[in-house]
């Protein structure tokens, strides 16, 4: 078994390729081999680097040093200096500002940022995701071993209940309780499903886990299956996440080869296997019952509830559906215990949360921090302040189905309890931070446009209501909204929440309600004065 000392990533997006990333990669391979370092250094490519000015880039871990643009001729020097002598080749360093996308969180690993706490992402980016050995070296499958040899299913569930872990897929349902429901549901066959459909706009937290640490999901699902009595598992992966699907499939093969999946795992009486199911590209398929329909080969439409998947899920059998991030907490909780987990976050919302930071801040990217951090802290510490010294006017939390919050809530701790009290949804963990160049009506319109396009069409209020709400908002943005429109919007919002079948239709009303609650001044300006304070809306005088 090889012990990897460093991991070297070469950017491989289309632009990097055009600028010679391939040649850089080959030279790296040669130079590393020439110095006899092949066994110590793992060399790989990375697709999404989120920037275009300094590609091709070479990134070296664990130091998380980013070089770029790197030319093939620079490679010999880079390998000599950094990988052989252990000194940073400062002449080649990429300018350290404005990192976005995946690179941003990779660079955050330098550890200079005070509050980062990695549980979910403990290995992502550190290990070779295609190597089960690497995973095992980093405490992989320890938790499963412990569960299968020392714990009864009820012990596992009890530990999880004590940990206070809540679902990270949006609704924040207590995970231990959900496991308990499934374990108690009568049935000869049960299923475990990992919801990896992640299609909330601006959210890519699950992807990092899937691509960077696929085995933690397999291990967690296996533990879940043991706890609830399931024999088969599905990972429903968003269709566009091709790399994630490949890595998961590879990981499953590796785990099967070592009998960490399959019949009689670890020589116990427990058997479990996992399939990867590629999503069909609809947002609604992330909703757990639509997802189940989709796996069953039907049109992805949410079922009506009750009954819930915990008793009538896949093929009508009791089914556990958990989000990727939720599952990525499991092995750490089992290894370190519920008490350890509760040291992070707040008493009522223990643990960490992964956020994607987007919008008008200096540094966008992805962080994992304890529950209860405030928006002000996020902007100041991780966002490195608002862009161009502007000030926060509003933030949108949790992707499209989350909330629009005003600056006045930026000191409210971001945890299920405090946000719940403030009527805000934590959602998927996307944080869209906006300065005063963003118009709240326009934002609501954009969100309703998203909902009307993504509504599955199954139920009347959502199918027709989202369309209607969008039209009204569009008219307000065109300067032709009336008082009566506002009254109608309020009614629509109520009907959507009260009458819709699933979360999509129910939360489609949230932006409208938030808009009225926190930004009535702005809305009034559009209606009364026919002015868009942010200067965004066209106010053309058209009416749809």
């Amino acid at each position: 078994m090889k012990t990897v000392r460093s991991m070297v990533l070469v950017s491989n997006d289309p632009l990097s390729q055009a600028r010679g990333a391939q040649a850089v990669y080959q030279r790296l391979e040669q130079e590393i081999a020439a110095r006899g370092l092949t066994d110590e250094i793992s060399l790989m490519t990375v697709d999404d680097v989120g920037r275009h000015d300094t590609v091709p880039m070479v990134i070296v871990y664990p130091e998380a040093v980013i070089y770029g643009p790197v030319k093939p001729d620079d490679v010999a020097m880079l390998v000599e200096e950094h990988l052989y002598k252990g000194r940073i080749a400062s002449g080649l360093l990429a300018p350290a500002r404005e990192l976005t996308g995946r690179i941003a969180w990779l660079s955050a690993r330098k550890g200079t940022l005070p509050a980062e706490q990695r549980i979910v992402l403990e290995r992502a980016g550190l290990i070779d995701p295609e190597s089960i050995e690497d995973y095992i070296i980093h405490d992989g499958y320890v938790a499963l071993g412990k569960v299968l040899t020392q714990m009864k299913p009820t012990d596992v569930i009890a530990e999880l209940e004590q940990s206070g872990l809540q679902g990270r897929g949006g609704a924040g349902f207590p995970t231990g309780l959900k496991w308990k429901f499934v374990s108690k549901a009568p049935g000869d066959r049960k299923y475990v499903i990992c919801n990896a459909d992640e299609s909330e706009p601006g959210t890519f937290k699950d992807r990092l886990v899937l691509e960077g640490d696929p085995h933690t999901i397999l291990e967690a699902m296996t533990i879940a299956a043991y706890a609830v009595g399931a024999s088969e598992g599905y990972i429903y992966v968003r269709g566009e996440y091709v790399l994630a699907q490949q890595r998961l499939k590879k990981a499953i093969e590796q785990a099967r080869a070592l009998n960490l999946l399959g019949e009689n795992i670890f020589g116990s009486a427990f058997s479990f296997d996992i399939h990867v199911h590629a999503g069909a590209g609809a947002y609604i398929c992330g909703e757990e019952t639509a997802l189940i329909e989709s796996i069953e080969g039907k049109r992805g439409e949410p079922r009506s509830r009750p009954p819930y998947p915990t008793t009538h899920g896949l093929w009508g059998k009791p089914t556990l559906v958990n989000n990727v991030e939720t599952l990525a907490n499991i092995t750490a909780i089992i290894r370190n215990g519920a008490a350890w987990f509760r040291k992070f976050g707040t008493p009522k919302s223990p643990g960490t949360k992964v956020y994607t930071i987007l919008g008008n801040v200096n540094v966008t990217g992805l962080i994992e921090v304890p529950m209860g951090i405030t928006l002000r802290e996020v902007i100041a510490i991780y966002g490195k302040g608002m862009k161009n010294g502007s000030s926060l006017s509003l933030a949108q939390t949790g992707g499209s189905s989350g909330s629009i919050i005003p600056a006045s809530l930026q000191d409210t701790p971001m945890d299920f309890e405090s946000f719940g009290k403030a009527g805000v949804s934590l959602g998927s963990g996307a944080l869209l931070i906006c300065d005063d160049t963003t118009c709240v009506v326009d934002l609501a319109k954009v969100l309703l446009n998203f909902f009307r396009n993504e509504s599955c069409g199954k139920c009347t209020p959502c199918r027709i209501g989202t369309e209607r709400a969008y039209q009204i908002l569009a008219n307000i943005c065109e300067g032709t909204g009336t008082r009566n429109d506002l009254a109608q919007l309020t009614m629509l919002a109520d009907s959507l929440t009260a009458l819709s079948n699933c979360g999509l239709g129910q939360t489609a009303a949230t932006p409208i309600r938030d808009m009225f609650k926190h930004f009535s001044g702005e809305v009034d300006a559009h209606i009364q004065l026919k002015v868009c304070p942010a200067g965004v809306c066209s106010m053309s005088g058209r009416r749809l």
């Binding site: 609604i284 396009n453 993504e454 209020p461 209607r468 009907s495 009458l499 079948n501």
Partner: protein, 795 residues
């Protein structure tokens, strides 16, 4: 019953079986919760949200598992935070439901408003106007005015052909998926689906040709708006202009109950049938009919119908008066006393056949009558047919249905729906045929035998179960191993099917005539033709499954009254003795020449018909008869249910009912037949004199029972005013064994096929005299057999 659950709907207690959904429980109490997407014959989906109600459940003490009680010792109720869909939520013990409070009313108004503001509201030109759930529910639960000034009315195709007969109005569709679900869940022709999503979601067909299903018309009945219409009826009439008359379908032996929508045209003052809709009969067709039945009514008003008697003069058929024609007929029948043969088709009514038999016995003094030589075994079905009280809709676990040598879908389409549903409820189907049929999809065992070896297979099954005391020696030779060799069905499959039969609590044996043998030669039933029905009867008798409800024989008769005509002739002792050199031949409702048969030589031929058929063209006297829609009468269906149909439209020209023509002949022959004033009178005599038909007086046949689910009527529930049964559900008569308790087995040596043996294949949509008159149905009609010839040949 142990499985009854108590719920309170608007504070009123009702006890309903476990698993009932809230809307049905409420319906039992007479409380209407409005629905659009829910249909009691389909699985609930909770799409339209019209049925939202407030639901409270008992609070349960976690420690004891017992309900928590309040100060008054009543269970504490936790009311749900959100409204729930009454159509998908099953009732629970102690559940409380509120269907009429302000919150619920507001929800209903809101949903209706959503639907209406995107609905074209072209009610004045809509086929559903007047019997439209959307219209009705809007009147009862709707908002009155809309608060929206936006109409997101989309302008979409209003005449989108889904197939050759069904059109979709995309603007009217409210996306309830009833049509899709009917096709998937009931018809099992998965030919409809939704395309796109959200506001652009639309119904479309998935099949080529479009909407390829024998049951497509049913979607127009259950569509809760006027989005689906038929080429036949669209824009032709408003429901309230029509008279709705109960009737029975004449296209196959299921005997589906119909409602004929009729109107007297303002143009030519002629009565006509505008549409055919199913009439609910949960024992027969539930609320479904096939497309042939729905669209095959045009022959009743065909230009080609005979309207006056014809008499051959100078070698040509020429118009004549009734008086003239009847006198001539009587004269010839009288003169040739004894040298007459009768021929009667199996589409005519019981009254017609009965009087025809009686005319021969009393007037012509001969019993030489044949019904059409198409089928064998009617005597066996009369004796061992399914017992009275049989309901295919009640079959489930413990029942085995053996289907042999018949294509249920092509011969008796609605039985396919019923038997498939039975299989879904747990009945086991054994489907044995020489070729693949749709029933194979639902079969526990599919047995594919070589053409012509069906009888051997049945004896193989009997051998695997027991030997059958009366014919033990013969059956003993048909061991599964030997039968496997003869039929090509693997031995293990024969044994497995035999095991199912042996374990069956109830057994129904359905047989058809898809075999290669001639059933009748020279007017005599052949052994080869009778072998299969006899084998099926032996199986039923040997296993003790004769003479009980939900047990016995069921034949896939080719026509609507095969059994009834047989019964009526048998009651008059009719039998066929072939002879040439006849003085007269009297043919009623049958076209042997058109079907390629030869008639015995005769000096004088009388034909009673709707059309100038090939046989009629050869006749000396042609007497114009009435179609089923222009008269009343009864038919006996394959399950031996006697059902009554009513006069719906005025007679065409001078045509008369068959029984009436026969009565005129009888009177002319000097019989004192003046008491046969009505078909009801004829039936009264049948009921009084034919033991199996006792209790089938018209009044009894007109009885209706309360049906579940309650569809139709004016109570807004599932729409459609023509569904509910006001004409009677009919009477299922007793089988012979039930009456006399005597049963016996007989041995007929199984015939052996030759290489030339060609399977007789039944197809619903073959061309035929009657169906050819429906222009709308032409695209569906075929002449060629459905299968390549080689599959149909013997070994």
């Amino acid at each position: 019953m142990a499985d009854l659950i108590n719920v309170y709907i608007n504070e009123v207690l009702v006890s309903v079986p476990k698993g009932t959904v809230i809307v049905d429980a409420a319906k039992k109490l007479g409380v209407n919760i409005p629905v659009f997407c829910y249909h009691p014959k389909l699985k609930p989906v909770g799409m339209c949200r019209m049925c939202l109600v407030e639901v409270g459940r008992r609070k349960i003490d976690r420690a004891t598992g017992q309900p928590l009680l309040d100060a008054n010792n009543q269970p504490e109720i936790a009311w749900g935070l959100k409204l729930e869909t009454g159509c998908t939520t099953p009732i629970e013990e102690g559940m409380q439901v509120r269907t009429q409070n302000e919150v619920v009313k507001k929800a209903q108004k809101d949903v209706l408003e959503f639907l209406l503001t995107s609905h074209p509201l072209d009610c004045p030109v809509c086929d559903k106007g007047g019997e439209c759930p959307l219209q009705n529910l809007t009147l009862q639960f709707g908002p009155g005015t809309t608060r929206f000034d936006y109409n997101d009315k989309q302008h979409l195709d209003k005449h989108y052909p889904l197939g050759d007969i069904i059109f979709l109005d995309k603007e009217r569709c409210i996306q309830c998926a009833r049509c899709i679900r009917f096709q998937d869940e009931v018809a099992d022709d998965r030919v409809l689906g939704f395309y796109e999503r959200g506001r652009t979601m639309q119904i479309d067909t998935l099949s080529e040709p479009g909407f390829d299903s024998k049951f497509s018309g049913n979607t127009t009945d259950i569509c809760p708006v006027g989005a689906l219409t038929t080429r036949d009826f669209r824009f032709r009439a408003r429901p309230w202009e029509m008279t709705h008359v109960p009737s029975i379908c004449t296209h196959c032996a299921v005997g589906c109950n119909l409602t004929l929508g009729t109107r007297r045209s303002a143009r030519d003052r002629q009565w006509e049938i505008l549409r055919v809709m199913p009439r609910q009969n949960e024992d027969v067709n539930e609320i479904w009919i096939c497309d042939k039945g729905r669209f095959g009514h045009h022959f009743t008003r065909s230009q080609a119908r005979l309207t006056t008697p014809l008499v051959r003069k100078n070698g040509q058929l020429a118009e004549a008066t009734w008086d003239e024609a009847i006198k001539l007929v009587a004269e010839r029948l009288n003169v040739v006393y004894g040298h007459v043969v009768g021929f009667i088709g199996d589409r005519v009514s019981n009254e017609d056949a009965y009087l025809f038999g009686k005319l021969f016995r009393e007037g012509v003094k001969t019993t030489r009558i044949a019904n059409r030589p198409h089928v064998a075994g009617a005597d066996l079905v009369q004796k061992y047919g399914v017992g009275s009280g049989t309901n295919l809709g009640a079959l489930g676990k413990g029942t085995v249905v053996l289907i042999v040598a018949g294509d249920v879908e092509e011969t008796a389409p609605v039985y396919m729906l019923r038997l498939r549903a039975a299989a879904q409820r747990g009945a086991k189907l054994i489907v044995a045929n020489a070729r693949e049929t749709k029933m194979d999809r639902y079969a526990a065992n599919s047995l594919r035998y070589k053409v012509g070896t069906e009888t051997q297979l049945v004896y193989g099954l009997l051998n695997a179960v027991n030997q059958g005391s009366g014919i033990r020696d013969q059956v003993a030779a048909y061991t599964p191993a030997k039968v496997a060799e003869i039929t090509g069905v693997p031995e293990a499959e024969i044994t497995a099917a035999g095991k199912l039969i042996a374990e069956a609590k109830d057994l129904i044996v359905v047989f058809g005539d898809e075999q290669p043998y001639d059933i009748m030669v020279n007017g005599q039933y052949t052994d080869a033709g009778r072998a299969l029905p006899q084998a099926c009867a032996n199986l039923v008798v040997a296993t003790g499954h004769a003479g009980k409800a939900n047990n016995g024989l069921l034949s896939l008769w080719p026509h609507n009254n095969t059994q009834g005509v047989f019964d009526m002739l048998a009651a008059n002792g009719a039998q066929w003795t072939p002879a040439d050199g006849l003085k007269a031949l009297y043919i009623v409702g049958s076209d042997p020449i058109g079907e390629g048969q030869t008639l015995p030589k005769s000096e004088f031929t009388i034909v009673q018909e709707l059309f100038l058929t090939e046989t009629a063209k050869q006749a000396d006297v042609v007497l114009p008869a009435l179609s089923f829609a222009e008269r009343d009468g009864t038919f006996t269906n394959a399950e031996r249910r006697v059902q009554r149909y009513y006069k719906a439209i005025a007679p065409l020209g001078q045509a008369r009912a068959d029984w009436e023509i026969i009565r005129m002949v009888g009177e002319q022959l000097g019989l004192k037949w003046t008491h046969y004033l009505t078909s009801e009178g004829v039936m009264a005599e049948i009921a009084a004199t034919v033991p199996q038909y006792s209790g089938t007086e018209y009044a009894a046949l007109a009885q209706v029972t309360e049906a579940w689910p309650p569809v139709g009527s004016n109570d807004l529930y599932f729409g459609g005013t023509a569904y509910d049964n006001r004409g009677g559900v009919g009477v299922q008569i007793k089988s012979g064994v039930e009456l006399d308790g005597q049963s016996e087995m007989n041995w007929i040596e199984p015939p052996v096929p030759s290489a030339e043996s060609t399977l007789h294949v039944r197809q619903l949509n073959r061309h035929g005299t009657l169906i050819d008159q429906s222009a709308v149905y032409q695209p569906r009609l075929i002449d060629a057999p459905i299968e390549p010839a080689q599959v149909l040949k013997g070994a």
